[in-house]
């Protein structure tokens, strides 16, 4: 098959449809996944193609949706349970963290829970404090869960297809700001293997590690920096568990400087985890501290200006890199 131009949303739908065609055990369940076609349109028309026994509209009962997916996964189905917003993780963390994540281990390896929890997070729609968060740290802090966060169209397809072959529960976190983004999908050519990071832009002066929508802010920042002669290497992590330390380490050992960019709040999050790993594995190669650029440690405000101001922008990323590498005073420090 040749590569086609499509959207992140359509690539996800293709992945679901192809997986359902390839494996009869795959079922989708969640709120508004059938008739409505998904809150963000990802499952549009799948109920027409696969029927109501495989595309299951549920009541608004999140703990039972995820719990039912756990039971289905233990009983020979391969459920894709949709949690409409990652923010609703607050309601389902028991089924996810105490049940799905631990069943294989607690029961001595007798049975696994091969399910995918599809959800989406992030800012960009003035959806306010309970519909805009980036909660991947909650998932990554739970041994037993795999976690993927695709940024590109090709990854949206391939990571979801691969997630549907794994023996364990996968939390698949999309970004609401990426659904209409266009890109190239080549069904025969994943960007890399599951669990491997990808260097999205090579550079010699510093390494910036990121994932999900922040990839594009970071690439925009790298573009700006390049115009003034600073070459940033941009790494897209793609999977948070498993985590590809090798790619990060190799890059930072070469560049000697590292930044981590996340949309999620800074404290206790992935930015801390990544910075710690880089520091541990690259200590002797680092010329500067590993710097985190992350969301402010606040709930997401509804006002568009405050919302935008609370998460990293391309400008903040570029100015931080400039400060780190060339000691240029950033605009916010001049006031």
């Amino acid at each position: 098959m040749t590569a086609i131009e499509t959207t992140y949303r359509d690539a996800l739908r293709e992945a679901l449809a192809d997986a359902m065609r390839a494996d009869e055990c795959v079922v989708i369940m969640g709120e508004e996944v059938g008739l409505y076609g998904g809150a963000y349109g990802v499952t549009k028309n799948l109920i027409a193609d696969f029927g109501a026994n495989r595309v299951i509209d549920t009541p608004i009962s999140e703990p039972a949706i995820i719990g039912a997916a756990v039971g289905a996964a233990m009983s020979g189905l391969r459920p894709v349970a949709e949690l409409m917003y990652v923010d609703f993780a607050g309601m389902v963390m028991d089924q996810l963290a105490n049940q799905a994540a631990k069943i294989r281990y607690m029961f001595g390896g007798q049975i696994g829970v091969p399910m995918v929890l599809r959800t989406q997070g992030g800012t960009g729609r003035s959806a306010a404090a309970q519909h805009s968060q980036s909660l991947e740290a909650w998932m990554v802090h739970t041994p037993g869960l795999r976690v993927a966060m695709p940024a590109t169209v090709n990854d949206a397809y391939h990571l979801l297809r691969h997630a549907l072959t794994l023996p364990d529960p996968v939390v698949f976190i999309e970004h609401k700001g990426l659904y209409t983004r266009k890109g190239t999908l080549d069904k025969d050519a994943p960007d890399a293997d599951w669990g491997r990071a990808v260097v999205r832009r090579p550079g010699k002066d510093l390494t910036i590690v990121t994932y999900s929508r922040m990839l594009f802010e970071t690439l925009a920042a790298a573009e700006t920096l390049a115009a003034s002669g600073l070459e940033a290497e941009v790494i897209d992590l793609r999977c948070l568990n498993p985590m590809d330390e090798e790619t990060m380490t190799a890059s930072v050992r070469r560049t000697g400087r590292a930044m981590v960019v996340t949309e999620a709040v800074m404290t206790g999050g992935l930015s801390a985890e990544l910075a710690a790993r880089i520091q541990e594995s690259c200590f002797d190669f680092l010329e500067e501290p590993v710097v985190r650029v992350a969301g402010e440690d606040i709930p997401i405000p509804v006002s568009p200006a405050l919302e935008r101001g609370s998460i990293p922008s391309a400008q903040l990323i570029a100015e931080t890199a400039d400060l780190l590498v060339r000691r240029r005073t950033p605009s916010w420090a001049t006031a």
Partner: protein
Amino acid sequence: MSFGDNQGPLRLYTTMRRIRSFEERVGELFVRGESAGSMLHLSIGEESVAGVCAAMTEGDTFTTHHRGHGIFIARGADPKRMMSEIAGKADGYCHGKGGSMHIADMGLGHLGANAIVGGGIPHIIGAGLAYRNRGEGRVSVAFFGDGAMQQGILYESMNMAALWKLPVVFCCINNQYGMGTRVDRSAGRLAFDERARAFGLDGVVVDGLDVEAVNAAAAGIVDGARNGRPGFISLEVFRFFGHARMDKSPYRSEEEEKAGRAKDPVLFTRGSLAARGIADAATLDGIDADVAAEMDAALEHAVKAAPPALDIMFDDVYGPGEPRPTPVRSRIADILSEARA
């Protein structure tokens, strides 16, 4: 402020007209690109909730779901501050931090609108405990949609209310839909009042077409709650428009929409007031015109109001006098200047 005289039919009509008029302006705010986002849930068709609100009294408190504008208007909201909040402006009820789905005002007993389906329901249990322990005679009401009827937390809360005989009321606004899911596709059995009664609550289902009938039924339930008999009301209405501003309701037929919109509580009451000679057409037109002018002013106010200053994003994460979160920019500047030193 007293809500006692709200109970007159003309007052109920005026409140309902104010709700509709306000919601129409919210739609306009969105079309003009002045709203904070598109997650705006209009309560057009559900205005007879005014009958429940009028059965509450000063000092009573409430929580709402995401479709809560109408409820708060009926409990005395200032439309200007509400519209400003929906536009994400500094002089809104929550300084532009909460938005349409998170309006609150402790002064008027609004313990908070919630964007988690079912999220606000258990709060009335705690409020009820406080009022009971202090012997205050206040009632707390949770308003939520039919979608929340399938959330477990509702039943945990109902059981506590009955167990502890709390002064609380559960009010389901059954507008027949949760997003694109009609209520008969989300519940195995539709008699919601039976569920409440099974827990030991008083439970009624009322047709939301007639706000006066709603008010009479609600008065009984709210009085019961005040006397230690918690209750449940299911208000049967129809969601006239899409779930939120982007939803064009492709999942339901035009006939269904037409039939649903024919059950218009505002027009019904208008007709009933005229037919009974309570108010003539000129009086009702006068009310409508005053309300329209009030809500036009609210809309223009919100459009012109100033956005919040960027720095307030760090306020109110914690209480007054407590350390604020460190802004990312300050942290970066500090780290890198120390590293150089």
